[in-house]
């Protein structure tokens, strides 16, 4: 049994291939997280608008993509849209699908963060002559981010795990590489190895999250 799941020879042989997959995974994370954060920030800032005509579409956007299972969204973009003449390819499909998903999650978290900052903060800043944008950047956002830091880290962790979905559209990231190696060797060891790599990669962030959550609770 142990021999089947932890076949060291197969693992050694698959490792370079898996590391290549890991590289693609890291690239995806490095692309999706900043884009999602930027999109989320725009969503959150516009959500604080006084105009209903601005807020409304954002509520629909956020709700829609939070309710849309990301795997379904990804397959729809990759395999569905070509029927409408829009062929995006694996990487673009993944990038767009994950952007829509993560920007709505980050947006909702940042919006909650902004709303958690007392209104008097914005008023005090505006009363000294700061523009709304300056007050947001220097006074409100730093406090907002600090207030929701555990949620931001938690969501980033989810995004990193989410990238494994890209394997279903044949994007050669870590899970896809492991699946290929598994089917070539008729042995599950590459999957186990991929799981180990995910764990080593993400565990520090899980620890960080625990500490942040603990600190937040203690600070209350």
């Amino acid at each position: 049994m142990l021999q089947t799941f932890f076949d060291l020879d197969i693992m050694r042989a698959a490792l370079p291939y898996l590391l290549q997959g890991l590289w693609t995974t890291l690239l995806l994370v490095a692309l999706v997280v900043p884009l999602g954060l930027a999109g989320g920030l725009i969503v959150a800032l516009l959500s604080t608008s006084r105009r209903r005509s601005v807020r409304w579409p954002l509520v629909v956007y956020v709700d829609f993509f939070r309710a849309f299972p990301p795997l379904v969204l990804l397959i729809f973009i990759y395999a569905g849209l070509p029927f409408a003449g829009l062929e995006l390819g694996a990487f673009a499909s993944v990038a767009i699908g994950f952007f829509l998903n993560t920007s709505s999650y980050y947006g909702e978290i940042l919006r909650a963060g902004i709303e958690s900052v007392a209104r008097g903060q914005m008023e005090a800043a505006r009363s000294t002559g700061l523009t709304k944008a300056q007050a947001m950047a220097w006074v409100v956002l730093p406090q907002a981010v600090r207030n929701v830091l555990p949620d931001l880290v938690g969501n980033t962790l989810e995004v990193a795990k989410l990238t494994s979905l890209a394997s279903v559209v044949a994007l050669p990231e870590l899970l896809f590489a492991a699946r290929s190696a598994q089917s070539l060797t008729f042995n599950p060891s590459p999957i186990v190895l991929a799981a180990l790599i995910y764990f080593v990669l993400l565990w520090p962030f899980v620890r960080l999250l625990s500490r942040l959550e603990h600190r937040t609770l203690a600070g209350r």
């Binding site: 007392a118 008097g120 903060q121 008023e123 005090a124 800043a125 505006r126 009363s127 000294t128 002559g129 700061l130 523009t131 300056q134 220097w138 006074v139 730093p142 406090q143 600090r146």
Partner: protein, 249 residues
């Protein structure tokens, strides 16, 4: 010290409604340079809203406000330029908790007046010294007492060298033993000739320092006059009832 004749703040027919509730029902008020105008009245009488309309933290429904010759309510007026010349001190201090006392004072100096770090730092330290907190420049608001926090907030307003300062119940959130330090700073400010509009219940301070006391009720100025008259011999029944209530407590 006789207040100058020039009105710094000139309010005419000011109205403000929140939904269907009218909280200001046509306020006329002139505040002259170096004058300290004290505003009293029951909660919900509109006194805070009156202050907050002066720098457009609330958008008035109707009327006109002239500040230092500038039409505050005109859409062509750069409201940020007006605001940096009207200081405001809030009941709940509203210090930025993620910045030190000096950082709080420096923010507008750096971002609004575009001063360099060294110059802003020097101005901030001088402003903090003026409110007796030279040694607290590096402290965060959470490490300061309520009275110290409010004095930092006053320093934050003063650092911009405002033409007038609005105080919105500056001592209402303070423990009684901390009120004195804030009033002391306000008294010094008054002696230095600062134009001030103060919404507060500190009658002793009003008697000692105010040039004029306004009594507001239900969105109107019911009565105004020197402190001795308003507190000693109010003409209106509503004023008398309010003063009696406050004195009793």
């Amino acid at each position: 010290m006789a207040p100058g004749a020039r009105p710094v703040l000139s309010i005419r027919g000011l109205r403000k409604s929140f939904g269907s509730v009218e909280v200001l029902k046509g306020i006329d008020l002139d505040v002259r340079a170096r004058e300290l105008v004290f505003v009293i009245g029951p909660s919900g009488s509109g006194k805070s809203t009156l202050l907050r309309c002066c720098n457009r933290l609330e958008e008035p429904t109707d009327g006109s406000i002239l500040f230092d010759g500038i039409d505050v309510l005109s859409p062509r007026t750069d409201i940020n330029a007006v605001r940096r010349r009207i200081g405001m001190v809030f009941q709940s201090f509203n210090l930025y908790p993620h910045m030190t006392a000096a950082g709080n004072v420096m923010l507008a100096l750096r971002r609004v007046l575009k001063k360099g770090r060294a110059e802003a730092d020097a101005i901030a330290r001088a402003a903090l010294a003026r409110v007796g907190l030279a040694d607290k420049a590096g402290s965060y608001p959470g490490e300061l007492s309520g009275g110290q926090q409010q004095r930092v907030a006053i320093a934050r307003a003063l650092a911009l060298e405002p033409v007038a300062v609005l105080f919105d119940e500056p001592t209402s959130a303070l423990d009684p033993e901390l009120v004195g330090s804030v009033l002391q700073v306000m008294r010094e400010l008054r002696e230095a000739g600062m134009t001030m509009v103060v919404v507060s219940h500190e009658m002793g301070f009003a008697r000692a320092a105010a040039d004029r006391v306004l009594f507001m009720d239900q969105g109107e100025i019911v009565e105004e006059g020197p402190p001795a008259q308003i507190f000693g011999a109010p003409r209106h029944a509503r004023t008398r009832a309010f003063i009696e209530q406050i004195v009793r407590h």
